[in-house]
């Protein structure tokens, strides 16, 4: 297996032992900060006083090496509000710990983790927006997904959905009002988006320009907020949630997203997945990854080349082949709804040989096509002029913002959940994690293109395996009860490597057949946070290129 990576020695961190994490040592490290313990399915939770959050996070980061704040989940109980900081290590994401911060119902107020992890900025704003927890010392605590004039916090139990949201025009901030920043008459305020050819959906960048240079950029998201978390909280584990992950990152990455839910729910309910189904999952997920990366490449070319570039159509044409394969397998081209808890919905389409033939043809044609892209894109001198050393994202900054996926790997961070937190059939296969050290737009494009090759390698091996698989052992689903009711108060946070990075799901059960809290940790949400770091001080075209290289899908950012 080529998956062994030279792990940086984490043994000098507190709590790291041969057998895994020693939570007692971590508890000692936190000392009197800990007021209680909780047990989540794959991580121990330390309950911390709301006014000492930053200290606890800081100790875990500095001394125990938890440098990745994966997600911040806010939720409501009958007697309290709670923020959970899911911490991991970039070096080894199987080492996880949760920092649980309960706050009172009357005045939900806790300290911000923003001084330790920059990524907490947006996550806490989201928690404030949807749940109404106030974070002290937060630099910029305002609503993020909902309009700033929204009344109430919609994920609270006592939220009145019927309450009218009447907002007078006067109250609404007029984005056109300010022409320049404060007294500085040399700058100009420009709204890039929400309707702009290059924002890949409805993203609004509040940009302050100094001539052609970007002086400040503030992404304004939420235009595509569809209450996905709440919809999942109202749907049953067994069937109804599965169609929705397709609609988060809706650009062909459906099966990857479904896998995130499947993995979390299977852990929550303790379901086994037959090996044969794992192979099919792995194969179809990698097909999705190829489709998603091809589209990322095509749209990035649109951003850098202009609207008439042929590259976009070529990548669409090649993506079409993958989509046909996926359609044959799943019955749909984008909204697959193919995975089921405990397996997949269908076996491979009959006749199997024909399907294998098609997949092999696709894999055989792929190198020539990628060569074409290298001629058109990465080999082009003007493209290099545009992309090398623009949109630089230093590894430290990327880690602090919780960047994952090709964005992190383009900054030289060797982090891929498929290998580091193995699931599916990945550990049995021979493939490599692609990293580039350039930290710039060019590296991110290169990472995606190389990942297409790696995915093709994985698919090829899966096809070989499936072809050899004995007919009597082709079990596509394990035995799963018709109604799933996980034990009361079980909590799980699980992530998979989706097309854009770490897609995590946090679920808490309350003994019914629907989750009490369903939180989506979207990779695009965290990745988009790095945009101001990347583009401040650069030119407008670099801002657009950086945005394109982040490859965000607003459906996943806003959920």
């Amino acid at each position: 297996m080529s998956l062994e990576k030279p792990r940086p020695s984490t043994t000098d961190h507190v709590g790291v032992t041969e057998q895994g994490l020693d939570y007692e040592a971590l508890a000692d490290l936190l000392g009197d900060l800990v007021v209680g313990r909780e047990s989540h399915i794959n991580a121990e939770g330390f309950v911390v006083r709301p006014e000492r959050v930053a200290e606890a996070l800081g100790r875990l980061k500095q001394q125990a090496g938890f440098d990745h704040c994966s997600c911040v989940t806010a939720q409501e109980y009958d007697d309290r509000f709670e923020s959970i900081y899911h911490l991991k290590k970039y070096a080894d994401p199987t080492q996880e710990v949760s920092v649980v911060v309960p706050t009172s119902r009357d005045d939900p107020r806790s300290q911000s983790g923003n001084s330790v992890f920059r990524t907490a900025d947006w996550h806490e704003r989201e928690a404030y927006d949807l749940m109404g927890i106030t974070y002290d010392e937060h630099p910029d605590l305002r609503r993020i997904l909902l309009p700033e004039t929204w009344q109430g916090h919609p994920l609270r139990m006592d939220y009145d959905q019927e309450q009218p949201q009447v907002v007078t025009f006067r109250e609404h901030a007029n984005p056109l009002k300010e022409d320049h920043r404060e007294d500085d008459a040399d700058t100009m305020f420009v709204n890039v988006g929400p309707h702009h050819p290059a924002t890949h959906g409805v993203l609004h960048l509040k940009t302050v320009l100094d001539g052609e240079t970007v002086a400040d950029v503030d992404p304004d998201i939420g235009y595509l907020h569809r209450c996905e978390e709440q919809m999942c909280q109202q749907s049953t584990y067994r069937h109804q949630i599965m169609p929705y992950p397709d609609r988060w990152d809706y650009i062909s990455a459906g099966i990857l997203n479904e896998w995130a839910y499947a993995r979390a729910a299977e852990d929550l309910a303790g379901l086994e997945v037959p090996e044969y189904a794992q192979v099919i999952r792995t194969m179809s997920a990698e097909m999705c990854r190829i489709a998603a990366h091809l589209l990322a490449l095509g749209t990035f070319a649109l951003d850098v080349y202009g609207d008439f570039t042929a590259i976009f159509m070529y990548s669409t044409r090649d993506r079409e082949v993958v989509q046909n394969l996926l359609e044959d397998l799943t019955g749909q081209r984008l909204m697959f709804n193919y995975l089921r808890l405990g397996g997949v919905a269908w076996d491979l389409p009959e006749p199997r040989e024909e399907y294998f033939e098609k997949v092999r043809d696709f894999l055989d044609d792929l190198p020539a096509k990628l060569e074409e892209y290298h001629d058109l894109v990465t080999g082009n001198e003007i493209f290099q002029l545009r992309c090398v050393n623009t949109g630089v994202l230093e590894p430290d900054v990327a880690k602090s913002y919780g960047a994952t996926g090709p964005v992190a790997r383009g900054s030289g961070i060797d982090y891929d959940l498929r290998r580091d937190d193995p699931y599916g059939y990945y550990p049995e296969l021979d493939w490599d994690v692609v990293t580039e050290d350039g930290c710039d737009n060019y590296s991110r494009v290169l990472v995606r293109m190389k990942e297409i090759e790696e995915s093709a390698k994985i698919i090829g091996q899966c096809v070989d395996l499936l072809e050899e698989w004995p007919e009597e052992e082709r079990e596509i689903q394990s035995n799963v009860p018709r109604t799933l009711k996980p034990d009361n108060d079980t909590e799980v946070y699980r992530a998979v490597e989706a097309a854009k990075g770490e897609l995590g799901i946090y679920m808490r059960s309350d003994g019914t057949d629907t989750p009490a809290r369903f939180k989506i940790r979207s990779p695009c949400f965290s990745n988009l946070q790095t945009l101001p770091e990347m583009s401040t001080g650069e030119y407008i075209p670099d801002l657009i290129a950086s945005l394109g290289s982040l490859d965000i899908v607003l459906g996943e950012v806003d959920r």
């Binding site: 202009g306 003007i382 075209p541």
Partner: protein, 382 residues
């Protein structure tokens, strides 16, 4: 017919300045005066030679040329562009309306003209309206002195080349006017970019053209064409003419590149840069005004093509009888147009600072080097 009048005014001053436009063999052999289109029309209709006749015939001839150009733009801009882009991107493109989808031109014209004309709040009104007209007329005016073969040339002033560059660069005024009058920040940025770009690339363009002038020894368009009719090398039955593209390929490449910047096409389409600043200076133009902007862009491309054809590709020269000259000329223009579309399909857009840098630090230096080199060669060899 604003441009017609302007052309005519220009035309008549030429006529009086040069004295009589004596009849001469059309096609422009030798260094003498060529017969211009108004004169031909006058003599065909049996009208005499007077200021009024020259005036009327000038308007008629200008109208003919302008109509032809607008037709060319309609065909190549509305229909051809789609077909060409589709070919590069493996698509089919328009094929439902009429033969080869050609009637899409009518449909598109109706569609564009029937759209609502939206004037943004706070637009600087007269300037906002004038800007597209300035741009279209500047491009059309340039064609007044282009020898298009088969005797089609409206005027042949002595300083023809200078005239072409002068009127073509009036478009910059239109661009900046459109940019600031639209009361839109994207337009404003686009206008500023357009001016910065035009200034940066106009100089290399003109300096490179000057190297041709050194070869030809004249600024008169017909003479530049005539100077290219000699044979450079004979390879058996095939003789390669002394087109300046063959004589001085370096200048040709330089000129073509600078021309891409001048007409604002990839890799130099930063004034519009749809993914960056929406549509640049034309963001706020709709309906008829948008049609004018669109027209001006295409006519500018064709004017660029016409200049390239005249300066470097032997003008209307080509195999077959001289009467076919016009066909060859249009083909050369279309080839340049095709090249711009080709570049669009595969060449990334440079950043604005890189664009300016390439212009001032690269192109300018190279064009002066080319000029010096040409001067030395011409001085030594001839």
């Amino acid at each position: 017919m604003n441009w017609g009048l302007l052309q005519q005014a220009n035309n008549s001053t030429n006529g009086s300045g040069n004295g009589t436009n004596a009849t001469n063999a059309s096609g422009g052999m030798g260094g003498g005066e060529v017969q211009t289109l108004p004169d031909t029309l006058a003599s065909l209709l049996g009208l005499g030679d007077g200021p009024l006749v020259t005036f009327v015939m000038g308007i008629v001839a200008a109208g003919l040329v302008a109509s032809f150009l607008l037709t060319l733009v309609a065909v190549s801009g509305i229909w051809g562009k789609r077909k060409i882009t589709a070919a590069f991107t493996d698509r089919i493109a328009v094929n439902r309306h009429g033969p080869f989808g050609l009637l899409i031109i009518v449909a598109d014209a109706v569609r564009l003209l029937s759209k609502e004309l939206i004037v943004p709040d706070g637009a600087d009104r007269p300037a906002y309206d004038i800007a597209p007209i300035i741009m279209v007329s500047s491009a059309l005016l340039g064609f007044a002195v282009i020898p298009m073969g088969s005797g089609i040339q409206l005027a042949d002033p002595e300083a023809g080349l200078v005239y072409v560059f002068a009127v073509a660069s009036i478009a910059s005024v239109g661009l900046v006017t459109a940019g600031y009058a639209s009361n839109n920040k994207f337009s404003f940025l686009g206008g500023l970019r357009a001016v910065a770009q035009n200034i940066a690339y106009e100089i290399p363009l003109v300096v490179t053209a000057a190297s041709v002038v050194i070869f030809a020894g004249s600024l008169r368009m017909s003479e530049i064409v005539a100077a290219q009719s000699a044979t450079l090398v004979s390879l058996g039955p095939v003789s390669i003419p002394a087109w300046y593209a063959f004589v001085n390929p370096f200048a040709f490449v330089l000129f073509v590149a600078a021309n891409l910047a001048e007409v604002g096409r990839n890799p130099f389409d930063v004034p519009e840069a749809p993914t960056e600043i929406v549509a640049g200076w034309q963001t706020e133009y709709s309906s008829v005004y948008f049609v004018l902007c669109y027209l001006s862009e295409f006519i500018h491309i064709f004017l660029g093509g016409a200049i390239i054809a005249t300066l470097f590709l032997g003008g209307p020269a080509g195999p077959g009888p001289e009467a076919l000259g016009f066909v060859w000329f249009v083909l050369k223009m279309l080839a340049v147009y095709l090249f711009t579309q080709w570049a669009r399909s595969a060449v990334p857009r440079v950043r604005i600072d890189q664009l300016i840098e390439i212009g001032w630090k690269g192109m300018l230096v190279l064009s002066f080097a080319n000029l010096l080199l040409t001067a030395v060669i011409v001085g030594v060899a001839f």
